[in-house]
């Protein structure tokens, strides 16, 4: 006899979410340990900014991975973890900016705005962060219901964020471009999967097949 197809139950979802929280929190505990044991290099400030920045980006990649995985393995329930992982993106990004603002700029507001204007990569990061914040604050079920169709429209901004962050990364480095390029490729693949799955793409390819024969593929 073949096994019944595996399906996520709400109980296993509970445990899965617990696991995800661990994966989200452990690196922060680890960072704290590193810093307080003098293991975060000679300049822990820069180390923390980089660590939390890359952490946010990794969480973002994880968020974008959920729906392709759910589709592939037919586990619709998995989609319910997107909010949790997405909020970790926001949490890491918040720590990242807080570290920059408190430890690097030492709460110098003037300098903050000056730097935002002088460093275009920070402008890009700030734009991404504002969008992330909008998504985080509208991630509650009640808000979601209230917003109706507009909710999905707004939350499509995650794709824009996914493009902005690697730009922010690429632009911030002196010349070590290999890592940001890897993230560009990953984001490209993840967006590509979606493009392919979308009807628009299907239509486009059907149209091109019938091109020149003047046959309406819809009919």
């Amino acid at each position: 006899m073949k096994n019944k197809q595996f399906r996520l139950t709400s109980r296993s979802l509970f445990w899965l979410k617990g696991l995800m929280h661990c994966i989200g929190l452990l690196p922060i505990i680890y960072l704290v340990l590193l810093v307080f044991n003098d293991k975060a290099g000679g300049d822990p400030v820069q180390y923390i900014i980089h660590y939390t920045g890359v952490g946010a980006l990794n969480a973002l990649i994880a968020t974008l991975l959920i729906s392709p995985i759910a589709r592939k393995f037919k586990q619709g329930m998995l989609l319910q973890t997107r909010r949790l992982v997405g909020l970790y993106v926001f949490a890491y990004a918040s720590l990242h900016i807080l570290a920059f603002f408190s430890l690097d700029l030492l709460f110098a507001w003037g300098l903050f705005f000056e730097e935002v204007l002088k460093r275009p990569y920070i402008l890009v990061g700030a734009a991404a962060y504002l969008l992330l914040a909008a998504l985080a604050f509208t991630s509650f079920k009640a808000v979601m219901r209230k917003m109706g169709r507009r909710w999905q429209k707004l939350h499509n901004a995650i794709y824009l964020i996914a493009l902005l962050i690697p730009i922010h990364f690429y632009w911030s480095v002196k010349s070590e471009i290999i890592e940001p390029i890897l993230y560009f490729i990953m984001v490209g693949l993840l967006l590509g999967i979606r493009l392919k799955a979308s009807r628009w793409w299907k239509q486009l390819s059907v149209k091109s097949k019938f091109k020149g024969r003047e046959i309406n593929p819809e009919s």
């Binding site: 290099g41 000679g42 110098a108 002088k118 460093r119 290999i178 890592e179």
Partner: protein, 340 residues
């Protein structure tokens, strides 16, 4: 200026804090979860994350440094602004892309660099070309300790007690010919020892060997220093052992490390960062708060000093990094905004 000598940075062994196995395990788990940047997966050598810090300390012995007899030269101390950066920070926060592009890569990957035997060649427009071996480098001139401000182009800074001698002494010994105009420098090229040189990407896109250059006038200024040590001992590899340049009024990338060739020339030599991005890094690279890097401000700097996370200071950057009185004369008539 009181020199605060810190104990070696491994004063607290990891195991005092967390059992060793736990650390290792956590390291493995974190790696599996992908919480190291994507680049770390690419080249374990050049991009080894901080997670290797723990193992490297246990598995690889740190580079052996020896004490250097020296006299204290305090002539330039009045130009310092700030206390000494503790030794453990000076030797664990480094840009030395030959050993990887993150700040913690050099201390992890450079410990096995062979510095003895070494060969430093002085050639080009000189009367007597010289070839110095390791002992010559340390013993040819009486050594001085000089404390200098150090400003990185990335807008962080330190105050460092170097040990060494004036470059001018070395050039005088070789005898500079009258047609000479510049001095070119070259770092060791040895991909076997320097993982960042293995391919262009693990080394941040630089076309190795790393090269730098000065005008002859800059090179002959007493302030321009050949360092063979810091904090009273020979240089560790991550700081450029066995011999490096220190040009304190210029951004740190001019202060080329682990030098094997000094060539006196009659034309302007190439410099690595300028070759990589001429619009961002000029040949002069004098510290200048008025000329921003195209992507960030140079008006202030984060001083890496004594103390923990919350003791960091952001201070204004000074023209010529505080050495204007001594060196601004070298640039008379030159538009420093265009010749950055």
């Amino acid at each position: 200026m009181n020199i605060i000598k810190k104990a070696a940075w491994d004063k607290f062994k990891d195991c005092d804090v967390t059992p060793e196995e736990v650390y290792h395990d956590r390291r493995r788990i974190l790696k599996q979860m992908g919480f190291v940047g994507a680049g770390a997966l690419l080249s374990s050598q050049a991009n080894a994350g901080v997670f290797d810090l723990f193992s490297s300390e246990e598995e690889k012995a740190a580079f052996a440094r020896v004490a250097l007899p020296h006299a204290k030269q305090t002539e330039y101390d009045h130009l310092l602004y700030g206390e000494l950066t503790p030794e453990n920070k000076v030797i664990s926060h480094n840009n030395f892309y030959e050993f990887g592009t993150s700040k913690t890569d050099p201390v992890e990957n450079a410990q096995e660099l062979k510095v003895n035997p070494w060969q430093l060649v002085i050639e080009g427009e000189v009367d007597t070309p010289l070839t110095l071996d390791y002992d010559d480098i340390l013993k040819m001139f009486p050594l001085e300790e000089r404390i200098y401000n150090f400003r990185c182009v990335e807008a962080w800074s330190m105050v460092i007690p170097w040990v060494g001698f004036s470059l001018a002494n070395l050039l005088k010994k070789a005898g500079v010919k009258s047609n000479a105009t510049h001095v070119a420098f070259e770092t060791l090229y040895d991909p076997e020892q320097m993982p960042g040189q293995k391919n262009r990407y693990s080394g941040g896109g630089i076309n190795y060997p790393y090269v730098e250059g000065l005008t002859l006038a800059e090179a002959m200024t007493d302030l321009t220093f050949m360092s063979v040590g810091l904090y009273g001992k020979t240089l560790p590899p991550q700081n450029g052992a066995p011999i490096r340049l220190v040009v304190p009024w210029k951004y740190g990338f001019k202060s080329i490390k682990s030098i094997v060739r000094i060539r006196v020339t009659d034309n302007k030599p190439k410099s690595s960062w300028n070759l990589l991005a001429a619009s961002e890094y000029g040949f002069y690279a004098n510290v200048n708060p008025e000329v921003d890097h195209p992507r960030w401000s140079q008006a202030s700097e984060r001083r890496i000093a004594e103390g923990g996370l919350f003791s960091a200071k952001r201070i204004p950057t000074l023209p010529f990094n505080g050495y204007g009185d001594l060196v601004s004369g070298l640039y008379e008539g030159l538009d420093l905004k265009r010749n950055f």
